[in-house]
């Protein structure tokens, strides 16, 4: 019996020893690939920094005015379109010129002030100004339209109060709703916080698929898989070390990014538990590596694998809420989002990093991700085993 136990013990030792040897080999090979190491480093640092630098504000939107009134009132309205949001390019002489500038993309907004603008205001008559916006870029267009509406609205409100003779102290007697926001989790509403985390999660998604897929396809491409298949390694012993080593690389990269870029550069106060965040990241990476392995079974070379990663990436990101919140999605697509592992990961990552949420809040998302991840991973391994087993 003791001999039997020793043999089993020995077999178990061999199993782990082989796994360790293969994992070490994967890390060694990755370390030798200078281009890949540089790309990973870049993605986890500079790329996230650049993404955080993208602002969702309107910045120096070009505006021209057709001022048919040339009065004090019109000058005051025009004066309110200020940098950094707007950049006043000057006055145009007719409406046609305005349309031409919009057509050529030289102006984003054309403000049209009618004659008798001041006269009407002073008379207490309602008056209108026309704002034309180039909305070919929806985001810019929407921002420009809403900013102009705010400015013009405020001007109208001020003009009305002034006309009623309500200024200074007497203003306090007017019944008005004072709208006081309290912005939680990102008090200064810095886009950099949202954008940099979002980019980090995207980078993790790409690499979690691409790195194991590349490692597996490379073995196919160079024929080294043949030598492994005739060795006593089981398919799991060939696959798992790739997933383990690549997960390790991604976790190190994530740590680097959280420490240097998110905390160090953008000064995001990490509210939640970092170990929980890394645990969730490891789980997510495992799930996505299943897709990577699946990709490696259907592609013949690295180029094909990279193409497929891009192809699978797009719907996963679109359905994740990384770019558009789930609330903005039409019905059918909203249901489909429950099948995107990234959806759960994004939710948990923001909740942990910004809100400081713990397992008590996140358990259902974690469970969903685990289930979805297991299915995807088992599918990937099954495909691989069927091809090479």
């Amino acid at each position: 019996m003791s001999l039997m136990a020793r043999i089993i013990e020995g077999k178990r030792y061999h199993w782990w020893s082989r796994m360790a040897a293969m994992t070490g080999k994967e890390l060694l090979q990755l370390g030798r690939d200078t281009v890949l190491v540089c790309a990973v480093l870049y993605l986890f640092t500079l790329d996230v920094m650049m993404a955080g630098g993208v602002k969702m504000d309107l910045n120096q939107g070009a505006i021209v005015v057709h001022d048919a009134d040339h009065s004090m009132a019109s000058r005051e309205l025009i004066y309110r379109f200020q940098p950094p949001y707007f950049k006043m390019l000057g006055e145009i002489l007719n409406e046609k010129e305005g349309v031409r500038l919009l057509d050529h993309g030289e102006a984003l907004v054309v403000l049209d002030i009618p004659p008798k603008f001041q006269h009407d205001l002073l008379q207490g008559k309602p008056t209108a100004v026309q704002v034309q916006v180039d909305a070919s870029n929806t985001i810019l267009g929407t921002l420009a339209a809403s900013y102009s509406a705010q400015i013009i609205g405020q001007y109208g409100f001020d003009a009305a109060l002034q006309r009623m003779g309500l200024t200074g102290e007497s203003l306090e007697a007017v019944p008005m709703v004072d709208d006081r926001h309290r912005v939680w989790y990102n008090p200064n509403q810095k886009d950099a916080w949202f954008m940099s985390i979002s980019e980090l999660l995207t980078v993790i998604t790409v690499l979690a698929m691409l790195l194991p897929a590349a490692a597996a396809v490379r073995e196919k491409e160079r024929g080294t898989i043949e030598q492994l298949l005739v060795s006593p390694l089981t398919p799991i012993q060939i696959l798992l070390p790739k997933v383990i080593s690549m997960t390790l690389v991604i976790l190190i990269g994530t740590a680097l990014c959280v420490g240097l870029v998110l905390y160090g550069f953008f000064e995001i106060p990490i509210k939640g538990s970092l170990p929980l965040f890394f645990l969730v990241t490891a789980l997510y990476t495992f799930a996505m590596s299943g897709l990577g392995l699946f990709i490696s079974t259907i592609s013949r070379n690295l180029a094909q694998a990279a193409m497929l990663v891009m192809m699978i990436m797009m719907p996963i990101i679109l359905l994740s809420g990384a770019w558009t919140p789930p609330e903005a999605m039409p019905d059918g697509i909203r249901q489909a989002m429950y099948f995107s592992p990234l959806y759960y990961y994004i939710e948990m990552a923001y909740d942990i990093l910004l809100k400081g949420a713990g397992l008590a809040v996140l358990w259902d998302s974690l469970l969903s991700l685990s289930l979805l991840g297991s299915v995807v991973f088992i599918f990937g391994v099954w495909r691989f085993k069927r091809q090479f087993g």
Partner: protein, 658 residues
Amino acid sequence: MGEATLVISAQPDSIVNVQNFHKRYRKQTAVEGVSFAIKKGEIYGLIGPDGAGKSSLMKAISGILTYDSGSVEVFGTLISSEASAESVKGRIGFMPQGLGQNLYGELSVEENIDFFAQLREVSPEQLISRKCKLLAMTRLEKFTDRPMKLLSGGMKQKLGLVCTLIHEPELIILDEPTTGVDPVSRRDFWAILTELLREQNISALVSTAYMDEATRFQQLSLMYEGKVIAAGEPEKIIAKVPGTLVELVAHPQAAALSQLKPIFQQVEAVGAVLRVFAEGQEEETAIKQVKSLLSNQEVSAIHASQPEMEDAFIALLSQANLTDSDTAPAINTHKESEIDASKKDGLAIEAENLCRNFGAFRAVDQVSFQVKQGEIFGLLGANGAGKSTVFKMLTGIMRPTGGEGKVAGQDMLRATQAIKERIGYMSQAFSLYQDMTVLENIRLYARIYAVPRKQLKQRVDWVIETAGLQGVEKRLAGALPMGIRQRLALGCALVHKPKVLFLDEPTSSVDPVGRRRFWDILIQMARVEQVAILVTTHHMSEAEHCDHLALMYAGRIIADATPAQMKVALVEAAGELLEVSTDQPLLALKLIEQAGFDEAALFGKKIHLLAKESQQVRQQIEPLLTASHISLHSISPRPPSLEDVFIHQIMTHENEVE
């Protein structure tokens, strides 16, 4: 340059003239000071291992590669600019290296030909007549609709040739057209080439890595690492290294090897036979010396013969001090006598009625054979004959459809994992990690095969010593020359001291020096360590090394014997191999073929044919030749090679099928 012009004017009939050619890739010199000339209507050969500079030369002559210094003249035009290269390209056909490399896999045979014809602006009428003729000549008519990627290696090369010839070039340049092609297709390819030369009077520049193809050329340059080692007619190159080849059978073989090695530079075990090249010695003195060295051993079947191109090549290399001086693996002999008899008789591989179907296609049909411990067993066959399927079933990667077998004492149907632990495997393509060092590769495989931790260092050292890898331990595997890489692959396959070794075309791309060193290790493993070695190959030079051969054709074993027995059987079945020497070999070959000798083939200027009654042949051929004013120099018998055996066997079976 004055000297060069003088040489050119001295050879007015040469259509290619290369003088003092140099080509460098960044810091690496590819070709260094090569000069040669090709006459009209000649097959000129460039022979040398990988990296000898053959491809660079051929590309420069084709006008698709610039060179650093020297001169290249084609059809009297100096190729010095793109414009001058363009002016002769229409008269040249170039086929690059690699099976079907210049063809389109998705296109059919006919579409490929049409495409190349359009590219070369061949008129539709000409295309039809040429296509008909070339397809008939290459026997590809039946396959015009088949996509190129589904053709066999030999057929791909024939199609490549058709596409190269469609614009009727005056000079064709073929870069290793027979690499990776089985012997039957190889001989077929040469026959087509011969016929083309005869009928269309074109000239050819052909490169090859096989020394045994040297006799196919009228003129050749023997190349090594960018330099020409020797040039001229094949016989004259061999004659540059006078000496005697002594062949003998000695027992025990490994002990005899280690006794001869210090005295003679070239000693090699080829199967049961020892080949000793006594450089500069007459027959009698050579035999005498060998005999006296082996006085304490059983020596039999000793005889002297002429050295071959490979012996000359190696001797010329060492004369020029070009052989790398890395240590040859030491041969360890003391253990041979200690092997107990029971171990020797043990069976390492038993295959019984193995079958494997792929859908309705039966790839392997009732294959049975046995390999003893300590035996080198060769599985021969063309591409697609079923060799690798048998290999996959025996190594446990593929389940047989029927039949059973035992490998290293384990049942191959039930104990695939146990088999995998007990065998070593080396594939044809280098399948180790090129971005890892020699040492890292060996250590990885040692751990995969669960070499105990305490023995790890000792075992790794043993592999390095056995495979002769001292000095390169820290180098990346990808940066090593082919020969050393193959030894590393072998070392990794041996790291767990397997009892059975599977080798898939182990030395197909290794130079002769490297190949001999490689086989030295295998001989030691088989003779001393009693490892059973199963080799698949379609290279006859590898087959000669085996103790026992099984020849596969269409999924079945059609011959199973020792190489010597196979040669004897050939003589019994088809007669002696005769070499016919005439003054007009091309014309003579045609007449001999018409007289009913279908298997006659041209080797350089000589014709080989098989005949039962050698006396009758002379009576039959001589009047035919004299009628056409061809003078017959001689008809002499030659010992058949394994290639002759292989081709005869396959042809016989092909005829039976038809």
